[in-house]
């Protein structure tokens, strides 16, 4: 195969994966907002909560692209490690935006960060702190200082991530504003459980043959444009939805 056709193949796969990633992150959020329609509250409020849902979608996606090579796309192992790290950063950016926009637009929400806040808000706060710890402690410089043994890091990282997403799900399910019908609650819970199940199955039963031969080489660089490109696109979509939802 010539270098030109290999390069075209890589780009085609990257574009296909980019489209799939955006759809995977945005579609559940759109369905939550529109099936049936949840009344709009305000641009800042709706935007902040859209970003919160996108952050949860990113956290769930981190269990599917958990840093190990997957069959699709047929990219190098380094691509999947980079993608996991980039989606983690994006989840943290989205959580910071979610909390920041809400606190700026509604300063009284600070009351919901105190120990007297409802438990589902404390769960959200705890999940954010765990996510922050997960991201910072994964930076190689810090990781090597805290855990000289990589296996110990991996073990704690995985279980803290499970705790983080479980707390996120509690925060989302109990706040019950956008998941406002029984069907939405059931489907949302099943989707989260399916992702957990998929992750645990892969962890304890392996993920099949690695198929190293058929992997496209020099593809690690695609993770940054794919991940941050999807962040930009999703931000534009989220702002658009928040603006369009508010009655004129």
């Amino acid at each position: 195969m010539s270098e030109l056709s290999r390069s075209t193949g890589r780009r085609r796969w990257a574009l296909r994966f980019f489209a799939g990633l955006c759809a995977c992150l945005a579609l559940p959020v759109l369905l939550i907002m529109q099936m049936p329609v949840v009344p709009a509250v305000g641009i800042a409020w709706d935007l902040a909560n859209l970003l919160g849902y996108l952050a949860l979608a990113c956290c769930l996606l981190l269990f599917i692209y958990a840093g190990r090579p997957r069959r699709s796309p047929p990219f190098s192992g380094r691509f999947f490690a980079n993608l996991h790290r980039d989606i983690g950063y994006i989840a943290l950016i989205l959580v910071i935006a979610h909390v920041g926009i809400l606190l700026v637009s509604e300063p009284l929400l600070l009351e919901h960060l105190k120990p007297t806040a409802p438990f589902y808000m404390l769960a959200g706060l705890m999940a954010s702190l765990i996510l922050l710890f997960l991201v910072i402690s994964s930076i190689p410089h810090w990781r090597r200082r805290i855990w000289p043994n990589y296996r110990h890091f991996k073990f704690l990282h995985a279980w803290l991530a499970v705790a983080c997403v479980a707390l996120c799900c509690w925060h989302v399910l109990v706040s019950q504003f956008y998941l406002n019908t029984g069907i939405k609650l059931v489907v949302g819970s099943l989707a989260a459980m399916a992702v957990f199940g998929f992750y645990l199955w892969g962890r304890y039963h392996g993920q099949g043959p690695a198929q190293r031969q058929s992997r496209l080489r020099d593809t690690a660089v695609y993770s940054h444009p794919i991940a941050y490109g999807s962040l930009v696109l999703l931000l534009i979509v989220a702002v658009g939805i928040a603006v369009l939802r508010v009655p004129q």
Binding site: P39, P107, T116, H152
Partner: protein, 115 residues
């Protein structure tokens, strides 16, 4: 660190977590009883269409008298649940009305009620 060391560390962390959670929970209950009420903008005239007993249930079920806060804030059993109870109660009706494209009042934004 060897395996035994990690196990001891994890057990210690778990014990510490349980102790902190218990202390935090006890402190939280006390703080919830003592914290001041936030101002609430509530106009009777805006709620004329609602049956009185929807809010003033004590006239029907004989559970007390006077203003809402006399029981819901001053009774230690009810006070910790007051915030979520009032939020759910007001919000349910406001969201229901907004879903049917009726005039509903505030939905979730804190500053529209607490000012």
């Amino acid at each position: 660190m060897n395996k035994a060391g990690i196990t001891v560390l994890l057990v210690l962390l778990a014990v510490l977590l349980i102790v902190f959670a218990y202390a935090g929970f006890a402190r939280r209950q006390t703080a919830m009883l003592q914290r001041p009420l936030l101002p609430v903008a509530f106009e009777h005239i805006d709620h004329n269409e609602q049956p009185c007993a929807d809010c003033h249930h004590n006239y029907v079920d004989d559970t007390g008298g006077g203003a809402c806060y006399n029981c819901h804030k001053l009774t230690p059993e009810l006070a910790p649940e007051m915030e979520s109870m009032f939020h759910d109660f007001c919000r349910e009706c406001h969201v229901e009305k907004r879903m049917h494209a009726q005039e509903s009042g505030p939905l979730r934004q804190c500053s529209l009620c607490h000012h």
